[in-house]
Symmetry: C2
Subunit: 299 residues, 2 copies
Amino acid sequence: MSVLIVGSTALDSIKTPQEEHPRLLGGSASYASVAASFFAPVKMVGVVGEDFPKPCLNLYRKHKIDLEGLQIVAGKTFHWSGEYETNMNNRRTLATELGVFETFTPRLPASYQKSAFVLLANIAPSLQHHVLDQMRRPKFVVADTMDLWLNIALPDLLKLLRRVDGLVLNESEAQQLTKEHNLIRAARKIHRLGPDYVIIKKGEHGAILSARNKLFIAPAFPLENVVDPTGAGDCFVGGMMGYLSTAKGSVDANLRRAIIYGSVLASYCCEGFGLAALTRVTPAAIARRVKELETLTRF
Amino acid sequence: MSVLIVGSTALDSIKTPQEEHPRLLGGSASYASVAASFFAPVKMVGVVGEDFPKPCLNLYRKHKIDLEGLQIVAGKTFHWSGEYETNMNNRRTLATELGVFETFTPRLPASYQKSAFVLLANIAPSLQHHVLDQMRRPKFVVADTMDLWLNIALPDLLKLLRRVDGLVLNESEAQQLTKEHNLIRAARKIHRLGPDYVIIKKGEHGAILSARNKLFIAPAFPLENVVDPTGAGDCFVGGMMGYLSTAKGSVDANLRRAIIYGSVLASYCCEGFGLAALTRVTPAAIARRVKELETLTRF
């Protein structure tokens, strides 16, 4: 089954202590879609300006991502630039130029509206709502979010939580949303807000899946060289949804393994700037790391 | 086989946002010995003053801890007091009164010297050396340490690393020791300093075992209520060594499972003040949480 993915489509200028790369293909929808594309056909929803570089479009096409829902409009593509500290965990935003994103209204082509799996990747909750409004009874809907929306669009986000099956967020966001330091208690509070599945990302420490009193503790794939962690969280959820949409059996039965696949996609993402490493990955390489994670966690 | 454990034996006054308890039995040797006692006979080495409360001695005895190596001398027992912040991860020391610890020289009774498993729990590296000097060819020696010794006794600690099979330390200590943020690279650097086994504790995020190019990613047991984390790291390594000393087969083959047992003991430790929760644990309860960790991590 195909996965519908809405999110940001952007150009990222990224600086790490080692390197600097301007105007790479970025945005939550780009990362999530490429990650999901290793498992399933992806229908992407987004907006870019007329300045959007052809090689970026070609990268989507290489991954057979359906671009019917990608609007190309007059104006400039969303541009984000950021800089990582030496530890590669903390980053600060140097500039955010919204460009055509400022007036973006996602419109779903008819062929998108029956997608069974929907990933509302990180984007304003109002736009996530707008996409859901256009869907016809999707089977499984997951939303990602970020601290920005907790700060400036909390009512919209809370309304969204009543409409989704799963929420993905990171540790500090879960704590901010619930005013609860303990992640198990935080997850339980989030369940009460709506989602049956709460996935808390802990970066290099892995992730926790809470499914109404059932927990799964997922490892991160251990990396020796983190080149650029931008988009790793998007690849995590994109890989997870891509795997889920093609796995046989129930979502409930497949979600643990889907999270492991998401972790592996996120690990490859971190090994290159922007999408450079991820786009070179092969299904065999993905399978190898999933196998390795089994070995690394067995006792 | 018995486990020899040397470390601090203290009275702890602990304050959390919820409760305050003065003069509880504490110290790295106390926590590690009680944790190890669920698996193996423990021979403890330490020092206390004449003020050491009888109920504390009785707690050791309840766990059949061999106290022949516990010196009871004129003066006051080591007293530590500390306060936890709301998140229960950060704590600050309010007072440290060394008392009889200031002049402590560990002396091993003859019956201790042939112990096969030696745990040099957190204590000055010079004292850890002194214990090793008195041992006759132990089979497996593990040292724990803390940031204090990295700051004030680094040469002693580096010398010790060449004499031990395993080193246990936490994430920030590993980073401080190696000047390396990435834990996989940090572990590799520590191997070069001597130990075949490097165990990096990450608190609620679990632990990593590095065994010369073989990694194990261990989960922490997820807790909803952390009452008092004091001594959890000591219980982790105590439980690990206790299990190791009685498991059939090679240390290499048993270490992963030993770490899981250590995690479980640490989790029980956190559920009460001081040793209150740990001392009430049963072998059945330990086995239950080990089983639960299997379920929580399976994919």
